[in-house]
C-alpha cells in the first residue's frame, strides 16, 4: 500500500505540474504578449482553461493531503523551513485564483477593473510557479539545515540560494512552454498559431537556458544533480527520451500537427521529473548534514497508509472518469 500512496503522490505532482503548470503558463504568456495582442491571448486561453480551471488546481490539494496524512514529518519539515517561499506562493495562488474568476464574473465589464484583474492575474501567474519551483528546488538542495541557529540560515538561506532560484526560473519557463504548446492547438486563426509558436520557441529556449543554469548552480551549491541524472540508466533514458520528444515535437509542429504535440510536451516534462526523481528516491527531502528524509521510513503508521491508499484508489474511480469526461466534452464542444 505504501507504494500505492507514493505512486499517487508522484502522479498528483506530475499532473499538477502539467495541468496547473499550463494554467500558470497561460498567464505567463499573457504577461509576455504585446499589448495589442493581449486580449486575443486572453480570449484563447479563457476558452481553453475556463471550465477545467478549478479541477487543475485540485492536484495540489491532493498532493498536500497525501503528504500530511501519509508523510507528516516531511510535510512539517517542509512547512517549517520553507515557510517563506510557501507563503509567497500561497499569496500568488490567492491573487491569481481570485483575479481570474473576478475578471470573468464581474457583472460590469469596465476597462478600469478589468485592467486591474489582468495585471494581478499575469504577475501572480509568474510569481506562483517561480516560488513553487524554488520550494521544490530547496527540498532537494541540501540547504535546509535543522541545526541552524540563526533566522537567516534556518529560514532564508534554506531557499534563497542559486540552485533553488534557478529551479524556480526553470519551472516558470517550462510552464510557459507547456501553455504555448497547448494554446497553439486551441488557436483558431493562423495569425494566433504563429504567435503562439513564436512564444513556444522563446519559452523552449528559456527552458534550455535556465536548465543549463540549474546544472551550473547545482555545481556551485554542491547538489549532485549531474550524478543523479546521468549516473544511472533509468534517468539517462528519461533524459534522452525527453530530448528526442522535443525534436519530434518541433518536427510535427512544422507539419501542422497542432494537437499531438501536446502529448509530447507533457511527456517531455514528465520525463524530466522522472529523471530527477528516480535517482534520489526514496529520499524526497535532502537536508544539510545528510539526515535525508525518506518516503520509505518517514511514513505514517501502516493503518493510516492502508486507509489512505484505499481512499485514493476508490476516489480515483470516481474522479478520473469524471475528469476525463469533463475534458472530453469541452474539447468536443469547442470543435463543434
Amino acid at each position: 500500500m505504501l507504494y500505492v500512496v507514493i505512486g499517487f503522490l508522484f502522479f498528483a505532482i506530475v499532473l499538477y505540474f502539467l495541468l496547473g503548470g499550463a494554467d500558470f503558463g497561460a498567464g505567463i504568456i499573457e504577461l509576455f504578449t504585446s499589448d495589442d495582442n493581449k486580449s486575443r491571448t486572453r480570449h484563447t486561453s479563457y476558452q481553453a482553461i475556463g471550465p477545467i480551471w478549478e479541477a487543475n488546481h485540485m492536484w495540489l490539494i491532493i498532493a498536500i493531503v497525501i503528504l500530511f496524512v501519509g508523510f507528516p514529518v516531511i510535510y512539517s519539515e517542509i512547512c517549517t523551513y520553507l515557510h517563506i517561499p510557501l507563503l509567497i506562493m500561497l499569496m500568488g495562488v490567492t491573487a491569481r485564483g481570485t483575479a481570474f474568476s473576478f475578471r470573468n464574473y464581474d457583472a460590469v465589464k469596465d476597462d478600469k477593473m478589468q485592467n486591474l484583474y489582468n495585471h494581478i492575474f499575469v504577475y501572480s501567474s509568474f510569481i506562483t510557479p517561480l516560488f513553487l519551483g524554488i520550494t521544490a528546488g530547496s527540498v532537494i538542495s541540501r540547504q535546509v539545515d535543522p541545526a541552524a541557529d540563526s533566522f537567516l540560515t534556518a529560514f532564508v538561506f534554506s531557499w534563497l540560494n542559486w540552485f533553488s532560484v534557478a529551479v524556480g526560473f526553470f519551472t516558470v519557463a517550462l510552464c510557459g512552454f507547456l501553455a504555448a504548446i497547448y494554446l497553439i492547438g486551441e488557436a483558431k486563426e493562423q495569425f494566433d498559431v504563429k504567435r503562439f509558436t513564436k512564444k513556444a520557441v522563446i519559452m523552449n529556449a528559456a527552458a534550455v537556458g535556465f536548465g543549463g543554469l540549474v546544472f551550473l548552480a547545482a555545481e556551485v551549491e554542491n547538489v549532485h544533480l549531474a550524478h543523479w541524472i546521468f549516473g544511472n540508466p533509468v534517468s539517462l533514458t528519461a533524459v534522452i527520451a525527453a530530448s528526442v520528444s522535443l525534436v519530434l515535437l518541433w518536427y510535427l509542429l512544422s507539419k501542422g500537427k497542432t494537437k499531438v504535440i501536446r502529448i509530447l510536451a507533457g511527456f517531455q516534462v514528465t520525463m524530466i521529473l522522472v529523471s530527477v526523481g528516480y535517482r534520489h528516491f526514496p529520499n524526497v527531502m535532502m537536508v544539510k548534514g545528510g539526515n535525508n528524509l525518506s518516503l520509505l521510513t518517514n511514513h505514517a503508521p501502516a493503518a493510516t497508509i492502508n486507509d489512505l491508499g484505499w481512499a485514493l484508489l476508490v476516489g480515483s474511480l470516481f474522479i478520473l472518469p469524471a475528469l476525463g469526461y469533463l475534458y472530453y466534452s469541452f474539447q468536443k464542444k469547442k470543435e463543434a
Binding site: E54, V69, T80, Y105, T304, G315, F330
Partner: protein
C-alpha cells in the same frame, strides 16, 4: 504581538474567513438546483434568470472559498507543524476523503458553470446537484476532523507516543455527529437568511419585485426550517460538550461554582478576578436539567478545573450568549414566516415583514463565527483536548506577526472585493434579466 498569539490570530482569521465562503459553497448550489428545476419544469424564465444570477455570484464565492481553503491546508503546517506531525496520520482520513469530494465538486462546477446551452438540460441540472452534495459532504468531513480535536479518539497516547492508530475510529469520534449536524444546519440557516435578506431588501426597494420574490421564497424555506432545527441540535452539542469538555462548557456558561441545581445564566459580565458574574439572570436548576435531564445533579464548574487549563471565560461566554441569542431570534422569525404562510397570507406582502428579514441578513453568519469562537477558544489551552497544548504545536519560525499582518491585509482586500463585485451583480439584475 508575540509569535504564538500571532499564529493563533492568523489561524482564527483564516478560518473565520473561509467558513463564510464554504457555507455559501455548500448551500447555494442547493438553491440553484431548486430554481433550475423550477425553470425546467415551468419554463418560467424568471427562474432561469435567478439560477444564472446566483451562479455568477457563486462562482465568485467558490473561487474565494477555494483559494482560502488552499491557504488553510498549508497553514496547518506553516503554523502548527508539531501538531500536524502527530495529528496528520490520525485525523487525516476526513481530509483525504474531503480531497476527493472537493475534486468531484470542482469537476461538477466546471460542467455546471460552462454547461448552459451546451449540455443536455437534465445532465446539466444533475451536475448542479452534485456540486451541492459534495459541498455538504466536504463540510461534514472537515468538521469531523475538527471534532477529533475536541474529542480525540482512534489512538493511544503512551509516554508521549501516539500508538495503535485507527484513522476511521478517529474520524467517527464521539463528537463528530453532533458537530457535523449542527454545522450543516448552521450553513443552511446562515446562507438562507443572508440570501433571503438581500432579496427582501430589493423587494422593499421595489426593484424587480417578481424576480426577487421568487428568489426570496426559495432561500427562506431552507433558512427557516434550519432555524427551527438549530436550537434542538445546539442542545445536543451542549450536552456533549458538558460531558467531554467540562472546562469549555463551564466557560460557555461562566459557571464558576459546582453546585447542585446549577443555574442557567443569561447574559451577565464575568468577573474573572472575583470568580463571579455581574448583572446576569440566573434560572436555578435549568443548567442541570439541560445537561443531565434532572434539576439536581451539579454541573462541573470552573472551580474543579486547574487555572492553567481554563479557557478565556469572557470570550467563550459572550460568544456563546451571542450565538444563542441569534438562534432564538432566527427561530422567532422562522415561526412568524410559517405562521404567515399558514394563517396570515396578507403579512407576506407587508413592509414590516420584509424589514424583519433585512435585519436578519448578517445574523446567521455572525452566529456561525460566534459558534466557532465557542468551540475553538473554549478548547484552549489545548489544541488536542487533553493531549497536546496549543503552545507545544506552534512553529519555531519567528516573525509570525508579519505574516499575520499580511493575511489581515489580504483577507480585508478580498472581502472588500467580494462585496464590491456582489453589489455590481445586484445592480445589474435589471439590465441583464429584465425584458
Amino acid at each position: 504581538m508575540n509569535d504564538f498569539l500571532a499564529a493563533r490570530s492568523q489561524m482564527a482569521l483564516s478560518l473565520g474567513f473561509h467558513i463564510i465562503y464554504s457555507c455559501i459553497g455548500m448551500v447555494m448550489p442547493v438553491f440553484m438546483a431548486i430554481s433550475h428545476y423550477k425553470w425546467i419544469k415551468t419554463n418560467d424564465h424568471v427562474y432561469k434568470n435567478i439560477t444564472q444570477a446566483w451562479s455568477k455570484g457563486v462562482a465568485i464565492f467558490f473561487a474565494t472559498g477555494a483559494v482560502s481553503g488552499t491557504m488553510l491546508s498549508f497553514e496547518l503546517g506553516l503554523l502548527w507543524p508539531k501538531f500536524m506531525e502527530h495529528a496528520g496520520p490520525i485525523f487525516g482520513m476526513p481530509f483525504s476523503f474531503e480531497g476527493v469530494a472537493f475534486f468531484i465538486e470542482a469537476i461538477a462546477l466546471g460542467f455546471f458553470l460552462y454547461g448552459w446551452n451546451r449540455l443536455n438540460k437534465w445532465f446539466h441540472w444533475v451536475t448542479g446537484i452534485v456540486v451541492g452534495v459534495s459541498g455538504v459532504i466536504s463540510g461534514i468531513l472537515v468538521v469531523s476532523a475538527n471534532s477529533w480535536m475536541n474529542s480525540p479518539a482512534g489512538f493511544d497516547y503512551v509516554n508521549g507516543q501516539y500508538i495503535n492508530i485507527d484513522p476511521l475510529k478517529a474520524m467517527f469520534n464521539e463528537a463528530w455527529f453532533s458537530e457535523a449536524l449542527h454545522m450543516t444546519i448552521a450553513a443552511f440557516a446562515a446562507t438562507g437568511f443572508a440570501v433571503a435578506g438581500i432579496h427582501a431588501l430589493m423587494i422593499l426597494l421595489k426593484r424587480n419585485v417578481n424576480f426577487h420574490t421568487k428568489a426570496f421564497k426559495i432561500a427562506i424555506v431552507f433558512g427557516a426550517v434550519a432555524a427551527i432545527l438549530q436550537p434542538l441540535s445546539g442542545d445536543i452539542s451542549a450536552k456533549g460538550a458538558a460531558r467531554r469538555q467540562p472546562a469549555k462548557s463551564a466557560a460557555m456558561e461562566a459557571n464558576y461554582h459546582t453546585v447542585p441545581y446549577s443555574p442557567l445564566l443569561i447574559g451577565g459580565i464575568p468577573d474573572t478576578l472575583n470568580k463571579k458574574v455581574d448583572y446576569g439572570i440566573e434560572i436555578p436548576g435549568l443548567l442541570s436539567f439541560l445537561v443531565y435531564d434532572d434539576f439536581k445533579t451539579p454541573v462541573t464548574g470552573l472551580d474543579k478545573i486547574p487555572q492553567q487549563y481554563q479557557p478565556n471565560v469572557p470570550v467563550t461566554h459572550y460568544a456563546f450568549q451571542l450565538m444563542v441569542a441569534i438562534g432564538m431570534f432566527l427561530l422567532l422569525i422562522a415561526l412568524i414566516y410559517f405562521f404567515a404562510l399558514w394563517k396570515k397570507k396578507e403579512w407576506l406582502t407587508k413592509d414590516w415583514f420584509f424589514k424583519l428579514f433585512v435585519i436578519a441578513t448578517p445574523l446567521g453568519f455572525i452566529a456561525v463565527e460566534a459558534g466557532w469562537t465557542v468551540t475553538e477558544v473554549g478548547r484552549q489551552p489545548w489544541i488536542i483536548q487533553g493531549v497536546m497544548l496549543t503552545s507545544q504545536a506552534v512553529t519555531p519560525m519567528p516573525g509570525i506577526q508579519y505574516s499575520f499582518y499580511l493575511f489581515t491585509f489580504v483577507y480585508f482586500t478580498l472581502s472588500v472585493a467580494v462585496v464590491f463585485l456582489l453589489s455590481r451583480q445586484i445592480k445589474m439584475v435589471p439590465e441583464l434579466y429584465d425584458r
